[in-house]
């Protein structure tokens, strides 16, 4: 058995090497070619842009997964450590197992991307190196540190248990710090291409590399990607659990993966709620950096991209809520909240429709003449930012309400101040909704520069309400009376397809946002500094981009399924080191909704 395991590990190590060799064979034959520095070389058959696009997007997907999942895995491990509940420890281990399996693929794709840049965009890469060379070393060292720490974290799970658990948790924290540092460095390169700083008009570095790193969109992207990685990691982990649930043979297995899927979705949803706010910040910084870029992004050739984004995010909101509502059916006592579901669904559906309403409609010439333009006399009112900001903020509030109801579904507070507490909570919801609607309507009567500032009040009201409601909720339901235990595993199978829908949709959305981030540079490698003079300088239309995103997403999920399958092989035939103890929650075995 040991020999078999050793062979497997050797095979894992050999896989990246073999793939790199295959990749290298597609690169220009002679190393000295690079020294001659033609501006571009053409990748066989597909062309250089498609090759870089596909590998970059795949690398980003895997990187987001392996950076996002450890963040909540270590939090779950801490919960298990402090509460002494084995099911949390099992879950944290299960999550890290997924990361571990995807680690080498991420590195392999990163190396492939590097080779593609060096081989097919040599001038561009030479320029980037002239700016960022000092960061390469730091990046490489951090990657080593991250790899070894995660390996130690994973393999040391049993070794560093019991009294040494604090050390193990520390390894998890440190690996996350390394991971975040890696993300920030890579973001410096990417954001420099969008919003270069610290360079002269001809592109030469003026002062230290820090000025180039600390460019206008660096920190907003750091925050946005960090949150998005959590959402992504959560959705993929939940989809994995859903797949295992659907394949489960026993009630115990179903219970375990139902719970795992719930936690994955909970993590994704929690982070997803704040993601639009990070997006606003990023958008504002893009406008502040360069109005032309901002306007091109929102009002130029990319304007329809945001309609697609609205549809995807609407599906994510609807799906997340639907999953929670389905999940409430396995919680005794939740019946009292079912009456709210139609109203919440109505708000979400209306919000979805408003958000997805384009400012200019696709119409025939006759229709345009009849309407007096491409703006519909009635629907056109919903196509502007005032309406969209209002819709998304109300959708966030509604989703938060769904979660609050789910959280208290089988609990009855016994605190004497429960009525006051609940009254304040409902008031917080209504006041926040009123502020959101007020500024949404008021926005139609003021100049755009004033209107942009209103979104801050709307966001502030929603975040304030969330903070206030949770501040009251946690103590109010501490020691609450139970109306019954959650029947983990007894959830409709369609709920698991919802989890898969969320994972697929979010992955596709990431691809779309990657296209948006890259596409707003248009015909520039480095915006305003280095022009793209290649055959691929044209920024493609959305249909072309969508085809590409779908292909990459299919490849990503195929690779993920293969990797998870490989990881699952190690479970077969061996005792469940972390699987036997935890049975996280048999049907009817848990009172916690968290």
């Amino acid at each position: 058995m040991r020999a078999l395991r050793a062979v497997r590990r050797a095979a894992w190590a050999a896989l990246p090497v073999a793939a790199l060799l295959v990749l290298a064979s597609t690169l220009p034959a002679h190393a000295q070619d690079a020294a001659k520095d033609p501006a571009y070389r053409a990748f066989p058959i597909f062309g250089s842009r498609l090759a870089v696009w596909a590998v970059a997007q795949l690398h980003l997907n895997f990187a987001a997964f392996i950076l996002g999942v450890p963040i909540f895995a270590v939090i779950i491990e801490v919960v298990g450590w402090r509460t002494g509940e084995a099911r949390y420890d099992w879950l944290a281990h299960e999550f890290v197992k997924l990361v571990f399996a995807a680690f080498s693929t991420t590195a392999l794709l990163g190396a492939s991307l590097l080779f593609l840049f060096i081989g097919y965009y040599p001038k561009f890469w030479t320029y980037m190196t002239s700016i960022f060379f000092p960061t390469y070393w730091v990046y490489a060292l951090l990657f080593f540190a991250e790899t070894f720490t995660v390996y130690l974290w994973y393999y040391g799970w049993n070794w560093l248990s019991g009294s040494k658990k604090w050390l193990h948790v520390g390894l998890g924290v440190v690996s996350n710090l390394f991971g975040v540092a890696i993300l920030f460095i890579a973001n410096a390169w990417v954001t420099f291409m969008m919003s270069p700083a610290g360079v002269t008009e001809s592109g030469a570095l003026k002062g230290s590399v820090w000025e180039a790193i600390h460019n206008p969109t660096w920190m907003p992207i750091n925050v946005h990607r960090l949150i998005a990685n959590l959402v992504f990691g959560g959705t993929i982990a939940a989809a994995y659990a859903a797949f295992r649930f659907l394949n489960a043979k026993t009630d115990e297995e179903r219970a375990r993966y139902d719970w795992m899927g719930y936690v994955g979705n909970f993590v994704a949803l929690s982070a997803f709620i704040v993601l639009p706010f990070a997006g606003y910040w990023l958008g504002r910084e893009i406008y502040a950096f360069n109005q032309t870029m901002g306007i091109t992004m929102m009002g130029g050739f990319m304007s329809w991209l945001w309609i697609i984004q609205a549809i995807l995010i609407g599906i994510l909101f609807l799906g997340s809520n639907y999953y929670l509502w389905l999940g409430m059916e396995r919680i005794p006592g939740s019946e009292r909240y079912r009456k709210y579901v139609p109203y919440m669904l109505m708000i979400l559906a209306i919000g979805f429709m408003v958000w997805a309403t384009p400012h200019s409609l696709i119409v025939t010439l006759d229709e345009a003449r009849a309407m007096g333009g491409t703006h519909h006399p009635f629907l056109g009112v919903f196509g502007v930012m005032s309406a969209k900001n209002t819709a998304v903020n109300l959708m966030i509030l509604t989703t938060f309400l769904s979660y609050v109801l789910y959280r208290r579904a089988n609990r009855l507070s016994i605190k004497p101040w429960v009525l006051t507490g609940m009254a304040i909570q409902w008031a917080a919801f209504f006041v926040a909704a009123a502020i959101v609607v007020f500024y949404g309507v008021y926005g139609y009567f003021v100049e755009s520069i004033v209107r942009i500032g209103f979104s801050v009040y709307q966001v502030g009201a929603v975040l304030g309400a969330i903070a206030l409601v949770m501040t009251i909720d946690v103590p109010m339901f501490r020691g609450a009376r139970s109306t019954g235990v959650i029947r983990w595993g007894q959830i409709a199978p369609r709920s698991q397809y919802v989890l898969i829908l969320l994972a697929v949709t979010f992955t596709w959305l990431m691809g779309l946002m990657g296209f948006a981030r890259s596409g707003i540079r248009q015909y520039w490698h480095v915006y305003g500094v280095m022009r793209d003079t290649s055959v691929d300088a044209v920024t493609p239309a959305l249909g072309y981009a969508a085809n590409m995103i779908t292909l990459v997403t299919i490849v990503f999920f195929a690779l993920m399924m293969f990797i998870f399958w490989l990881g699952g092989l190690s479970e077969k035939g061996q005792a469940e080191t972390h699987g036997a103890a935890p049975v996280p929650a048999l049907a009817g075995g848990s009172e916690d909704t968290d």
């Binding site: 501006a39 870029m293 500094v529 044209v538």
Partner: protein
């Protein structure tokens, strides 16, 4: 027959992605193409042609239309209807063309009341208009209610210089592409190994049909004179391209040939 979960999940996922892809393909499809540079220096241009060229730049490379409307109050920037007449009265001591040129090159120098200082310098990247383009766009703006009297010499010689930093290297060769094509197919015998658009079909060397899009002029010139020194394209045998063109071609033939290759886009 029971369908495996993996198949069901895969079909479901493909349907989800397929619906997104279908939607994205059913909305307006707009590409963003790199703008083409306009050069009017040394040419005879009528005011009408200049205005027409300026309007084209206004709507495309200049990206002016994103913020400025004509005959409609803009939210981010002033309405330009009648600006040709209005410009002469904006700043004391400034005629219409001086004011318009300053607005393009140093937009923050004078702000129309009620509008923020957000306009970029249009002669610098990423917009990067060159002198000819600045000349044309000034003429277009003058034509909006005023008289077109701007000359190329009114545009500062330094204007547009910064744009060149980000622009592709522009090499103006005195060669004749037609004659170069004859060299390619005749004396140079390039056709024996290379394809170039409709000419030739030999697969011995790389297809040059789009060579000007992927290679720089410097590379092409170097490759003809010193093929081995410029490296070998992946997948082709090393040392096959003859190294004697520097001796067999005349200077004119060489320049003509390069000029021809630079038309292959």
């Amino acid at each position: 027959m029971r369908v495996p979960v993996g198949v069901k999940v895969s079909v479901f996922s493909l349907l989800v992605m397929g619906s997104y892809t279908y939607f994205a393909n059913s909305i307006p499809q707009i590409e963003s193409k790199p703008p083409e540079d306009l050069s009017l220096e040394g040419g005879n241009v009528t005011p009408a042609q200049l205005v027409e060229a300026g309007e084209q730049i206004f709507r495309t490379k200049g990206t002016c239309e994103i913020c400025h409307k004509i005959g409609e109050k803009g939210m981010r920037a002033p309405d330009l209807a009648g600006v040709g007449a209005r410009a002469a009265k904006r700043r004391p001591g400034y005629g219409a063309k001086q004011y318009l040129i300053e607005s393009l090159l140093d937009p923050g120098a004078y702000l129309v009341e009620g509008y923020p200082n957000i306009m970029p310098h249009v002669d610098k990247p990423p917009i990067g208009l060159n002198r000819s383009e600045l000349w044309a766009i000034t003429a277009f703006l003058e034509s909006l209610g005023g008289t077109v009297d701007v000359k190329l010499d009114d545009i500062p010689k330094t204007a547009g210089a910064a744009a060149a930093a980000g622009a592709p290297a522009e090499l103006k060769l005195p060669g004749d592409p037609k004659a170069g094509e004859a060299v390619f197919a005749g004396k140079g015998a390039c056709i024996a190994c290379h394809k170039a658009g409709k000419i030739g079909a030999s697969p011995v060397g790389p297809d040059l049909s789009q060579i000007a899009k992927i290679q720089t002029p410097e590379y092409l010139m170097g490759k003809i004179l010193n093929p081995a020194g410029m490296g070998t394209v992946a997948g082709y045998p090393k040392g096959v391209m003859p190294p004697m063109f520097g001796q067999t071609l005349t200077a004119k033939e060489y320049v003509d040939l390069v000029s021809f290759l630079l038309t292959l886009k």
